[in-house]
Symmetry: C2
Subunit: 318 residues, 2 copies
């Protein structure tokens, strides 16, 4: 019927996104509780913290304690985020985390200037030097990251040629440093994507770099999260970022905190019902989603945690 | 790229669904205010009330006053719902409403027994007699309606052969009464559909009745509303029911009132961004969605009313 992949990988970003975004305070113990709960779901990768300035992101002031306190499962890759060399040093000091070197760019230079205070030229140099630093510290996994790949609040629609040009830049930086680009993340940072634009952009990148693995980072700010993920699946995309219960929020939209990343359990539900293997035990993931809601103390956007899974209904019937 | 239609029709069901579902009380004046606001959006069809037992559905005790009080636009078709002959008589007495004769069945006999207290055999007779009655009253538009077309909480997955068999029954009832079947609604009554099952079921019905127009009635209980609508669009479906702001709720799921029908403005936004004409002025529809939220006095599930349209962002940039 289509090119749906047989199996996909989901990178769970809920804890990192959520505890950064939520006003809190949320105790270290409860952060660990959520991550441990997620470790029991079959998820193979969980982003568990952010080494950022505690003055700017008070929700991650306890990142060292969280990362030290989680009960690791051997089949789960625990990843972390950092934004500068100080953060990298702290991440390097942590035990049992998987470090991914990011080569970050954007399809909108305006967004990059606003978000990172530099243009494409400068960014190329910065990324080049960072990859050299990552390599020096023994990091072996490299993820290209294209922000605003489907449009930009400050630049509008972005041409596909820009996505291709910046993907070329990412490749060049990897090549010049003699490292392999493992995956390219196409991020719908400000929720401009539609199913059709997902197909166009993924198709254009795939046509030029047929062997490059693509992962989609989607936001549900305008309600198209799952539709966009489905369009990605139709294009054979087999890797997605998502957040349990829809934890986290998008800082760019004037919404009521209800629409951040696409929701892990809704994505996992859709895949399971279409016969796509995610490795996830949906009922356990729904428990984790309800736990997330309990921890933050308010409703979170994911739907299946309210609607219930179909397998639970099927089980009652037999 | 695919069989996306160039233009689609949206049947707005928000007022009827919402004022039935909401605890209220909501004044007649405010109900009319929402319908009038929707009349200004370019929507070509709005379901404006339900002639039901006021003891069972107190939210529609004032249906006569609402229907009499709306300010009609010539390009808008105002439809109503009724469930029995008493309701039909009340609907017939109303001025300026477009009456659709429904030929209702389900792909799950268990659901039909629970919902309507009769099996397939009895239903066929009931529907046959109703169509005769509709014809006698001069009703010329007939909509087949297949509930639980994608699965059933009480029967589980339903075979496509059942959908085909019951579509055959609907055709037979129309034929025997010498009336034309204008459209067939495939309803995902209990939110069992996935994009792939939408394609399979629509494809199977289309294969057998290539000239039959199909409309999709989708619920967002499990977060797949827009993804399922997109799959329908990919199959060339050019007609959808939806509710402004996501008004209304699904009585079958243990959720927090957050997931009824798919949301009109999110669907209209997705279509507009993909170049599919809905006839709708999205900014006006977003105003109506915010008005709906104001009227019911709590958050409603639609996302674009929070996230904002992309055309509004584009306009700021130029």
């Amino acid at each position: 019927m289509s090119d749906l992949p047989r199996k996909i990988d989901i990178q769970e970003e809920g804890p990192r996104e959520g505890f950064q975004f939520e006003k809190g305070p949320i105790s270290t113990r409860r952060k660990i509780e959520l991550i441990d709960s997620l470790s029991d779901t079959g998820l193979r990768e969980i982003q568990v913290g952010s080494y950022v300035n505690p003055k700017r992101v008070p929700g991650w002031a306890d990142v060292e304690d969280v990362v030290a306190g989680i009960h690791r499962k051997p089949d789960v890759r625990y990843t972390v985020l950092w934004l500068n060399e100080r953060g990298l040093q702290r991440a390097l000091a942590a035990e049992g985390v998987f470090l991914k070197g990011s080569i970050t760019t954007a399809a909108s230079e305006t967004f990059m200037k606003l978000n990172q205070n530099r243009g494409f030229e400068d960014n190329m140099k910065v990324q080049h030097n960072q990859v050299a630093l990552y390599k020096q510290h023994g990091i072996k996994y490299f993820r290209g990251s294209m922000m605003a790949a489907f449009g930009c609040n400050f630049e509008g629609d972005v041409p596909i040629s820009r996505v291709l040009e910046q993907t070329e830049v990412v490749h060049r930086i990897a090549d010049e440093n003699g490292v392999e680009l493992d995956i390219l993340s196409l991020a719908d940072t400000m929720a401009w994507a539609t199913p059709e634009s997902i197909k166009r952009v993924v198709g254009a990148v795939r046509e030029r770099w047929p062997d490059l693995r693509i992962t989609l980072h989607l936001h549900d700010t305008r309600g198209l999260g799952c539709a966009n993920a489905y369009a990605g699946l139709e294009m054979g995309v087999d890797s997605f970022d998502s957040s349990v219960a829809g934890l986290g929020g998008c800082p760019f939209a004037g919404h009521k905190g209800a629409a951040g990343n696409i929701c892990t359990e809704d994505l996992a539900f859709m895949c399971a019902e279409m016969g796509i293997d995610t490795g996830i035990d949906l009922e356990r993931l729904l428990e984790a989603a309800r736990l997330a809601e309990d921890i933050v103390g308010h409703d979170l956007p994911g739907k299946v945690k309210w609607g219930g899974s179909l397998d639970a209904l099927r089980a009652k019937l037999h």
